[in-house]
Subunit: 342 residues, 4 copies
Amino acid sequence: MVKVGIVGGTGYTGVELLRLLARHPSVRVTAVTSRKDAGLKVADMFPSLRGWIDVLFSTPDEAHLQECDVVFFATPNGVAMHDVQALLSSGVRVIDLAADFRLKNIQEWEQWYGMTHASPALVAEAVYGLPEVNRESIRGAQLVANPGCYPTAVQLGLLPLIEAGIVDTSRLIADCKSGVSGAGRKAELGSLLTEAGDSFKAYGVGGHRHLPEIRQGLAQICGQKVGLTFVPHLTPMIRGIHATLYARLQRDIDVQALFEQRYEQEPFIDVLPAGSHPETRSVRGANLCRIAVHRPQGGDTVVVLSVIDNLVKGAAGQAVQNMNLMFGLPESSGLEIVPLMP
Amino acid sequence: MVKVGIVGGTGYTGVELLRLLARHPSVRVTAVTSRKDAGLKVADMFPSLRGWIDVLFSTPDEAHLQECDVVFFATPNGVAMHDVQALLSSGVRVIDLAADFRLKNIQEWEQWYGMTHASPALVAEAVYGLPEVNRESIRGAQLVANPGCYPTAVQLGLLPLIEAGIVDTSRLIADCKSGVSGAGRKAELGSLLTEAGDSFKAYGVGGHRHLPEIRQGLAQICGQKVGLTFVPHLTPMIRGIHATLYARLQRDIDVQALFEQRYEQEPFIDVLPAGSHPETRSVRGANLCRIAVHRPQGGDTVVVLSVIDNLVKGAAGQAVQNMNLMFGLPESSGLEIVPLMP
Amino acid sequence: MVKVGIVGGTGYTGVELLRLLARHPSVRVTAVTSRKDAGLKVADMFPSLRGWIDVLFSTPDEAHLQECDVVFFATPNGVAMHDVQALLSSGVRVIDLAADFRLKNIQEWEQWYGMTHASPALVAEAVYGLPEVNRESIRGAQLVANPGCYPTAVQLGLLPLIEAGIVDTSRLIADCKSGVSGAGRKAELGSLLTEAGDSFKAYGVGGHRHLPEIRQGLAQICGQKVGLTFVPHLTPMIRGIHATLYARLQRDIDVQALFEQRYEQEPFIDVLPAGSHPETRSVRGANLCRIAVHRPQGGDTVVVLSVIDNLVKGAAGQAVQNMNLMFGLPESSGLEIVPLMP
Amino acid sequence: MVKVGIVGGTGYTGVELLRLLARHPSVRVTAVTSRKDAGLKVADMFPSLRGWIDVLFSTPDEAHLQECDVVFFATPNGVAMHDVQALLSSGVRVIDLAADFRLKNIQEWEQWYGMTHASPALVAEAVYGLPEVNRESIRGAQLVANPGCYPTAVQLGLLPLIEAGIVDTSRLIADCKSGVSGAGRKAELGSLLTEAGDSFKAYGVGGHRHLPEIRQGLAQICGQKVGLTFVPHLTPMIRGIHATLYARLQRDIDVQALFEQRYEQEPFIDVLPAGSHPETRSVRGANLCRIAVHRPQGGDTVVVLSVIDNLVKGAAGQAVQNMNLMFGLPESSGLEIVPLMP
């Protein structure tokens, strides 16, 4: 059994990790930390876990994380970078669900996140945890930077086009829509049902932290800078991301076949039949990315529709997938969940 | 492996059965019938099942249901009563998720459902599939009448009080709220997002078909007729039932202890700590009934809050639980699902 | 033109007052206070008001409220009681949308609201602003205590029965459901779309501050204490309250006629035809209470369904109705709004 | 008083027309037709109109539409084209809210709408009712083709850029999101709360009927064919359209000033301050289009965010605005509505 610790178990990625790990056959959750709620039963805060998770929240000191095999950081940005080195030194492997180790360019990270990076040396060492790109590196990684939710949906949707070198990478567009859980479990005015409900809006058009992360991932594939316009929107639902991606084809090609071949062996990517429109609910609760490719009116604009559950393939599920790779477990272990529909 | 057939697989109880059975370790779904959609892959209608369910819809003739060990009827009311006898005669066991075999009083059934019953003899034989009341009879049953969603939530909430004989059974009140999936997967005006969304209403105050079913269940326990006012409401959510139950205590008693003791051994009933308010989402997707008991201001009115997922413990999950009992499988087999939250 | 000031304009009752007053033909809003946001244009916080409301938030000092004809307090409980006396002394009339002057029993108020009352003398003087009960007193009032949202829906639903003396007032039940805006425009975890969305729950079963307010109102009508069980619930919608009320008839009577006669002259009460089920959306945005009365199965339990928009007839609309009465304006002035459907 | 008839009053655009006209100071609704519901009070179908609209649905024969000054067709596509000529010949002016007279190219219309056009001669005569483009022609029109909802939001968002001739019109992108009421008041599976709720999807990526309408409108402005990729999406809300528009700037220009100047005199277009993100709810129930313009990272991609209420500025409100122009009434008459927030 892999001994697992979770730092910061009171947010949505934390509780989602617990939902997945509760049923994982090869894992035991030994500690869930929360300074503020230490002593409280986790299931008292999250009644959905009653009967599944018996541990109490503990302080980081009580948690004995150095005795874990792996520690997940489900903390706000800027926390893990302070604590990871000590764990790594004790031989504990780490998966950070926040953004601390995602951007290789420290200066860019500091600009977008507005703080000084506390352990730049670890950034170079960290493996970006998108298995469909970095599977082999993840297996051997001590420190995994789990991708952001938008970056997962966008990169998986554009990957085949960019690898094939058939689109103009200087003018990509990612028009993305997220459910409200993407904002986290925080008491913020804009996330109230009365504010975000029955309404739709864009946000962060001027610049969003996931923009440099997506650009870095795409640039790495095509070997040069990419031009990307990224517009995130808030949609009145709980879970789910829908990325609508636009690119200009430079060569006439069967895009449907391209996508099907690229993802043929991928356990968590589902390329839908030509002409499909994936719904976010078709992946609700599951570690899946479903994708459809279109060429409206047969023109040279390719439109990719890519959906994930932001809390699963966009966060906790992908983290478990990474853990499975790191510990030589079956990649689908604990992730064999049928999406909840309706 | 238990060979399972599903008659009427295009509604919400049908697709929910498939979600649960897809992961059931001792079951193989061999046929899903739909006259209208015969030949179509089930997963083409329900993309959430892609990768999990490979069968095609078939006509009843093609389905060879008589070779199944058990057949679930996920059909509208009035269908199963025509087809069940032939299956039973072939040695196939049957679980009807509709109302055909729920009411023992044929005349009452015909009044509420507005049709002549096609096989009244089978009604007497059928076992009412509420395991918390009839577990032993279910084990040996050939034909199970799976309870309605409201009746499940209401009976489980009132059971301990009525068994203990401590409330006035002549003036019970069940104020119930259901998500829209309770209306089924039918193109009806009143179930549109634009009609049922962002609004709340009562319906059927003059009389609802679940009223006689609840009354029958409660009367059986206390050995006499009960007086029940049942008011169902439609609430703008997808899944979930919340029953708020009112009864007059005739004896001073520790109701919290009463409920805890009654349900101590029940795998799918969770009595919450005193003072709790269960949310429907705390059982979303899971075969659970969570219950809290209150005595406001310490008075003699007891208020019970009982929540289920109408498609799981209120329909397909309970049906699988019944199947497990009938075939000597572990009662929780295929039902070990952590609720989806948020 | 009536000169109007609003204290505390950043909450939902404040912005709703502004929506209504923006179109009121006999009113000019001269000041909207907010210490925190002084200097900001009101329409910059609430873009829905762009083009309708030009004033800036001001500090209470800058607001010159003593020059207003009437001041609305749309503040949290416990604010108005400190500030009202000075305004009244300047000849300004006051309508408090919070609870400070609703309960005549100071001791009871202090228990439920957890603070010492700062101006108990004014409580006696204040008129409870339910026009359907106190219309004449409101006309002459200097200080109006605007009723709570639940108390409005419940009292209007029970009024005809209690005035007629035909129900057992010792065992009334009010099962109430509210949209999330009832919790106000505050960054609270439980009001997030991700927490309150797609779920349903009761709350405050042990005791809710609106209980003594309802009891006081009903007792005043029947001249004796009433026994009331009040269970509020949170339903995943933005606006609207649905009260489902249960009482035992002590005399056989035509309840439909009773309600129609009682409310025949009331401009904002709509008794629906027998057999109806009012939807909350049928009053969305309007100063209306729609009511239906049922006697299920012709028994002696009467079920009343009463719906309002909690922000209009349950708060700001009723406050404007009170202002109209106080200033001799047509009672419907500024309130002639067709509900928004769908 | 302008005498108004409405053909097809049972859909959402019909009931929305009634909401607006009920409060219009210069209008009397004399007939609302519905073959199926003739004899029923309109307010019995739409309780939100109780107290506001007294007329009954009538058959077209009973309606004496030729005595009206103006008739609105709120019918499905393909109805008005059969009935309009007779009305025009009687001197009645007509506003068609459906698509029958929107496309000047008859052949193109017949392809997209799958039927033979019944009165192609009238198409040439009809004025496309977008006041911000065709105000003067509308004043004199006998027959107005009221624009579609998506076309209104998209054209108003792109208009200033295209008029100014500063963007590449060969590669425009319109990524649009609509609430479910855009699908009409029809019992369709895909519009159920259980299907469209808590989920997000694109649809019609291969081709949508509003594409040729938008292309025609834009081409008319720039005097040449435009290249447009149009992707509509369904978002889980009741009302509202959000268009996110992408174009490549060919000249460096102050786009904020451009938009502000273009719409300075427009009563129903609101250009938000630089850096804004309009929410659909900020126009809920009102005849408004709010627009924000961005140039992310100061690049040459301009992003326009344009929101309307699809039932108001996208349908019934715009129709009333057109009627006001046609009859020399103040353009805002009956449209002075403050958006409903929250």
